[in-house]
């Protein structure tokens, strides 16, 4: 392969802000990142240093045509110890926005983005679908709780909390939505859902298109401001949380007129303030916790899920390594969202499966529905006898009604 170095390539000018993390020109080729990528088994997988070097030397088309930028899980595990503070997701995501790369964007991602931009929901979930689904859920909830107030309120202007679900909660994982509704019911404060708020995800983030990401953010933010809520409560979603909590302000150029909270933070707060109580015997055995990269390493939320878990299970078991050095589940960076990547996801998840196996637990919790799906699949693929749940779902199960 031939390539010519280019000192002022378009891509470099995207990256040459030299802000912390964007400073790829400072790479000294120490190779630390290459040794740390957790995709270290089997075929394929990104080589972080090669990506940085291609970017640094202005080999835009080589980089853009490389499979590596789409295989990269954007987890930043590789650059945690970069001596220069380079952040890999900035390189890989920005590379995905190069013209040559856009051509190679997985079809599923392209479709999802288009649908979300057109309909406000990545699956094209309509208002009618929403109403129908919520009605069905409400019946279940009211039956279960034997209380008509257990129903999910919708379109309640001025509610204290607006819950923004993961689209899967309105489809394949409706049980999770029910669990969240039980949590809100237990909180006993005004809350609502909205037909304009069915999707916490933001695939614009995956493809580093600031315009798309911003549009998607505004779809959520402006609609929430219309309803006039105090707090936007996000479902357990790693990148959704990262985009809304950490990136939104920069991208839309202002602060949203509400607080952005994770369902975990709200639940922990209610628990600590005695609003709810959780059964300490709910899981009388050790439960391991997987740090979602977007929630943990990128957003700094390490302790809240662990504290919640600690209330309800015998012991929180750590996977090694964890927190800042946690290993990606293998579904990051839009691999999970691309149906053509299913096989590769099993390879990229091998490191995680090894960790889970080494931890020797029967129950694994995480705080991201994408991780949850990937973990469920790798556990099955690697024939581990481990049940996977989200922390909030476990908490909902453990509510003790007064």
């Amino acid at each position: 392969m031939n390539a010519k170095i280019c000192i002022d390539s378009p891509f470099l000018s995207l990256l040459n802000k030299k802000d912390k993390g964007d400073n790829i020109s400072e790479c000294m080729t120490c190779g630390i990142c290459t040794s740390r990528c957790s995709w270290y088994d089997g075929e394929g997988g990104p080589d972080p240093r090669q990506m940085v070097r291609m970017a640094q030397l202005g080999l835009d088309s080589l980089l853009a045509q490389s499979y590596m930028i789409w295989d990269c899980m954007l987890c930043n595990h590789c650059t945690v110890e970069c001596p220069m503070g380079i952040v890999m997701e900035n390189v890989a995501r920005k590379a995905r926005s190069l013209p040559d790369a856009i051509e190679r964007m997985p079809q599923d991602i392209k479709n999802g983005i288009q649908t979300r931009l057109e309909t406000g929901d990545v699956n094209g979930f309509t208002q009618e679908d929403f109403i129908e689904t919520i009605e069905w859920v409400n019946e279940e909830l009211c039956d279960e709780m034997d209380d008509s107030k257990a129903a999910i309120p919708t379109e309640q202007k001025g509610a204290k909390y607006l819950y923004l679900p993961n689209p899967r909660e309105l489809g394949t994982n409706i049980l999770h939505l029910q669990a969240m509704a039980r949590l809100f019911y237990a909180f006993g404060e005004s809350w609502t859902m909205s037909s304009r708020h069915t999707d916490v995800t933001n695939w614009g983030y995956f493809v580093e298109d600031d315009d798309i990401e911003k549009t998607m953010l505004l779809q959520v933010i402006e609609a929430a401001e219309d309803i006039g809520v105090e707090n936007l409560v996000l479902s357990e979603c790693g990148h959704g949380f990262f985009a809304l909590r950490k990136r939104a302000e920069d991208l839309i150029g202002r602060k949203p007129k509400f607080n952005v909270l994770s369902i975990l933070e709200v639940t922990l707060d209610k628990l600590e303030n005695g609003v709810i109580s959780l059964n300490p015997e709910a899981y009388p055995y050790p439960v391991a916790y997987h740090d979602p990269c977007n929630l943990g390493r990128k957003s700094g939320v390490f302790e809240a899920p662990r504290q919640l878990l600690a209330h309800i299970c015998k012991e929180v078991v750590e996977l090694t390594p964890n927190r800042m050095n946690a290993v990606c589940c293998g579904g990051g960076g839009a691999l999970l969202q691309d149906s053509n990547s299913t096989k590769r996801r099993m390879i990229s998840g091998k490191a995680k499966a090894d960790q889970i196996k080494a931890a020797g637990v029967k129950h694994l919790a995480t705080a991201c529905l994408s991780c949850h799906r990937q973990l469920t699949e790798i556990v099955k693929y690697y024939e581990l006898d481990v049940k996977v749940d989200t922390v909030a779902a476990l908490a909902a199960e453990a509510i003790m009604h007064k």
């Binding site: 392969m1 031939n2 010519k4 170095i5 400072e26 080729t29 740390r36 270290y40 030397l57």
Partner: protein, 838 residues
């Protein structure tokens, strides 16, 4: 306090502190040496000998020797197991209290901080598994294993264990606030790798590195030999995985051929941990109101108040030899600052020999201190006059006779013959810079010095894109790397394009890494090439196109365009090196530069007293090195003129017995024998090192050494084993072994000799006749003997006796043992006792 006899507090009994204490003591300065451990020697004292058949020039054994010398200081108080409790500056100097003693305040005029170093705590990088996996160790741990000869304890039972070294753990890392190169780790790791290979010849050793820092002739002369025996990979793994099933450690790295990420398995992984300042420095600095630099060093950037001095790692990462020199230099600075030396003119002449851009600097420095300087410049380019310096140009040397204090130089200058007397000779001279001419001569290719000229004089003529190609020819010199970094950064700052092609970047000195970081930050592009032969330079349409296989992008044939290609010159020994080494009777090193790499005489000295080397004629030297070397030469000159230093008993020639064969003249490694009229050899006391090689070699037995040795060897030997032990190596190792209770002097009789070369055939055989079963000669490793050939001569003699007499092989035997090899000597003795071979 009496101004004429000042006192100095030296904090730290490591190599720098000891060297300083020794120097101060020699000049009658009273010293309080404070050491926190229960023995002197510092980190270097713990270091294992790296010799493998020959000395690898690490200098660690010198610490044991210095520690021994501390017992004989006349004006020093040594405080062991002590550290500084409080230190205060007052009108007279400093008042210090120690934690170990009662409230007694130690008052001194000056404080020398030589607190030593702290290795990086590898557990700060949890992904390396240090402290988690037993088979992940640091270079310091490996050293301990090597020192007690216990490496095999942690290796599996195989003849070819796989061992990896990972470099730059805690060095060159801005995120850890350690963005400096620790300077010593590459050399340490390669020496250790070589040592392991010596013990386990089939070991598979891999060194993961960023840029191998091979700087200084101590190791550069041996680097190719060691490099060829290990696998080198660019890129340092930062994550170690444990494969429970295989019981091996795994790291992932990029295969340089395929570019694929591959797993490699190892039985042992050694982390080359970087070095930082001692934590105590920070505390002391606070009390003295000194602000250390961002890394905690008292580097030149940290302004030291009057009366406070720093040496060794306290002022920046340094190796053992540099730390020693810094200690000596700091001591001299104290001596000067406190006017301990008389201000009278030295009245001695110093000859500065050779053509060098640095000779003016040394001439000036010496004449400023009252020396009479004669500059013998082989060039004809007249330099500016320096007051107090007599200069000759177009000098051609004819002969050098005499000894220290009275060298006799015969030379011609501009066709006229001259003769001068000089107390000392300082050889200066520049390495030859040779431009490689393998590329088509083109106005688009310039040498580095040509480019510097253009850059400085006509910057407008510097084209838009300039490429620098480092290590194009042979090893890169640190000065070239630095110059290129400066130039490339300057071009990038001006909006021009600078590309640097290199195999590795030398980041010498405390600021080297920052300079490199700055260059990349400003947009200089660095391309790595592992095989320079694969680079094509093509002229294309007014540009040059460089095509190469970039090392970090395997499978990509990369091309870069430039308007000008700059090639640093190859650095060769000065053309005059063979001639000068001949006239001065001094060896060159294996690369042909002046001065051997023997650590006993590095950096500036030689086995011949009063002969010094300075600048690039003997090693790569930058401005910092030159300044240090000049100070070291000045210190050595002062030491030479301080009369009360010589204590050792010296040999003398009995005129009546002398057969005038001149064997002594020829064999003396220190050129201390001169010939007075009618072939009468005379041993010049000032020049003599007292090694006794002449004594043992005189066929007429005309030379007697006034030392206890001779009387010692007579009489019946009670012990079955007799050990002739060199006082600089074997004897120190034996002492150490006795302290460690590995050896008792009841099991063997030790005869201390000033040098193994002192031991004649008769002495060896006499021991057997006296009833000894075995004679062991414990002497320096090849290349480490202060008298150059002493140990080698003894080894040859022992072999010859055994061969000629048909005695058992092990009845007389020579072993190379360094001062820091107590375990080795103990094993040798106990094996000899039990009749086994070792």
């Amino acid at each position: 306090m009496n101004k004429s006899t000042p006192s100095v507090l030296v904090v730290g009994g490591g190599i720098a502190g000891m060297a300083a204490a020794k120097t101060l003591d020699d000049f009658g300065v009273s010293v309080h040496l404070v050491e926190k451990r229960e023995y002197l020697g510092g980190k270097a004292f713990d270091w294992a000998c790296m010799a493998t058949g020959e000395c690898r020039n690490c200098g660690a054994c010198l610490s044991a020797e210095l520690a021994d010398q501390m017992n004989h200081l006349k004006h020093a108080t040594i405080h062991l197991k002590s550290s500084i409790n409080g230190i205060k500056k007052n009108n007279d100097g400093f008042g210090t209290t120690l934690n170990s003693e009662s409230s007694a305040v130690i008052s001194t005029n000056a404080v020398l901080l030589a607190n030593g170093m702290t290795p990086f705590d590898a557990s700060r990088l949890p992904e390396l598994g240090y402290g988690v996996y037993d088979q992940v160790i640091t270079t310091a741990d490996l050293n301990n294993l090597l020192k007690r000869e216990g490496l095999k304890e942690i290796l599996p039972d195989t003849t070819s264990p796989a061992i990896a070294f990972i470099q730059c753990v805690g060095s060159r890392n801005r995120e850890l606030c350690r963005d400096y190169c620790s300077q010593v780790c590459c050399k340490t790791a390669l020496r250790q790798a070589n040592k392991i290979l010596h013990n386990i010849p089939e070991a598979q050793i891999t060194v993961f590195h960023i840029d191998l820092q091979i700087i200084g002739k101590e190791f550069r002369t041996q680097a190719e030999y060691v490099k060829a025996r290990v696998n080198l990979f660019q890129g340092v793994p930062a994550k170690i995985l444990s494969d429970r099933e295989q019981g091996k450690l795994t790291v992932i790295h990029e295969d340089p051929e395929t570019g694929a990420r591959v797993a490699r398995h190892f039985d042992l992984i050694v982390l080359s941990v970087g070095i930082g300042p001692s934590l105590q420095v920070i505390e002391i600095a606070k009390q003295l109101d000194i602000k250390p630099d961002t890394w905690g060093f008292l580097s030149s950037g940290a302004l030291l108040p009057s009366g406070v001095y720093a040496a060794g790692v306290t002022q920046g990462p340094t190796d053992i030899l540099t730390a020693r020199d810094q200690g000596i230099i700091a001591a001299h600075k104290i001596i000067q600052d406190f006017n301990i030396l008389s201000k009278t003119k030295h009245n001695s002449t110093i000859a500065v020999l050779g053509e060098s851009k640095d000779s003016g600097m040394i001439c000036h420095a010496l004449s400023k201190e009252g020396w009479l300087v004669v500059r013998l410049d082989s060039g004809n380019h007249q330099a500016p006059e320096i007051s107090g310096v007599t200069s000759f140009y177009s000098v051609s040397l004819r002969s050098v006779n005499g000894t220290v204090g009275q060298y006799d130089l015969l030379f011609t200058a501009k066709g006229y013959e001259h003769n001068i007397k000089a107390a000392s000779i300082i050889v200066v001279g520049d390495a030859q810079m040779v431009l490689y001419s393998g590329l088509n001569d083109s106005d688009k290719i310039k040498s580095l010095s040509q480019f510097v000229d253009v850059f400085e004089k006509t910057p407008a003529k510097v084209p838009k894109t300039v490429a620098f190609w480092l290590d194009r020819q042979k090893q890169e010199w640190k000065d070239h790397a630095r110059t290129c970094l400066h130039l490339a950064t300057a071009l990038a700052e001006k909006g021009q394009t600078a590309i640097v092609i290199m195999e590795k970047m030398l980041v010498h000195g405390l600021k080297g890494q920052k300079l490199y970081d700055d260059a990349r930050h400003k947009g200089v592009r660095f391309l790595r090439v592992s095989n320079p032969a694969q680079i094509n330079v093509i002229s294309d349409n007014g540009h040059l196109v460089l095509e190469m296989n970039e090392a970090t992008l395997p499978g990509v044939r990369l091309s870069a365009e430039c308007d000008l290609l700059v090639l640093p010159e190859a650095v060769n020994p000065p053309a005059s090196a063979p001639e000068i080494s001949h006239f001065l009777r001094q060896q060159c090193d294996s690369e042909g530069f002046l001065q051997s790499a023997n650590v006993r005489h590095r950096f500036v000295g030689s086995p011949r007293r009063g002969i010094f080397f300075l600048g690039s004629c003997h090693d790569e030297t930058d401005e910092v090195d030159i300044a240090r070397e000049i100070n070291a030469v000045k210190a050595s000159l002062e030491a030479l003129t301080t009369s009360n230093i010589r204590t050792e008993p010296l040999p003398a020639i009995n005129e009546n017995k002398c057969a005038r064969c001149l064997t002594c003249y020829r064999i003396c490694p220190h050129a201390a024998v001169t010939i007075k009229g009618n072939y009468k050899p005379v041993i010049v006391t000032d020049a003599c090192f007292g090694c006794g090689i002449c004594v043992s070699h005189c066929p007429a037995e005309a030379i007697s050494a006034v030392c206890e040795l001779d009387s010692d060897t007579s009489g019946i030997t009670a012990s079955k084993t007799v050990i002739f032990a060199c006082e600089r190596s074997g004897e120190l190792a034996l002492k150490s072994a006795m302290n460690m209770e590995m050896f008792s002097n009841k099991t063997a009789r030790i005869i201390k000799v000033p040098c193994a070369g002192r031991i004649g055939e008769a002495m060896m055989i006499q021991q057997l006749l006296n009833g000894a079963k075995r004679v062991i000669i414990a002497a320096c490793h090849e290349g480490n003997c202060r008298s150059v050939s002493g140990s080698r001569l003894a080894a040859a003699r022992a072999k010859l006796i055994v061969e000629d007499t048909g005695l058992q092989d092990n009845s007389i035997r020579h072993y190379s043992v360094a001062a820091n090899e107590p375990v080795k000597i103990a094993k040798i003795v106990s094996a000899a006792d039990s009749g086994k071979e070792i």
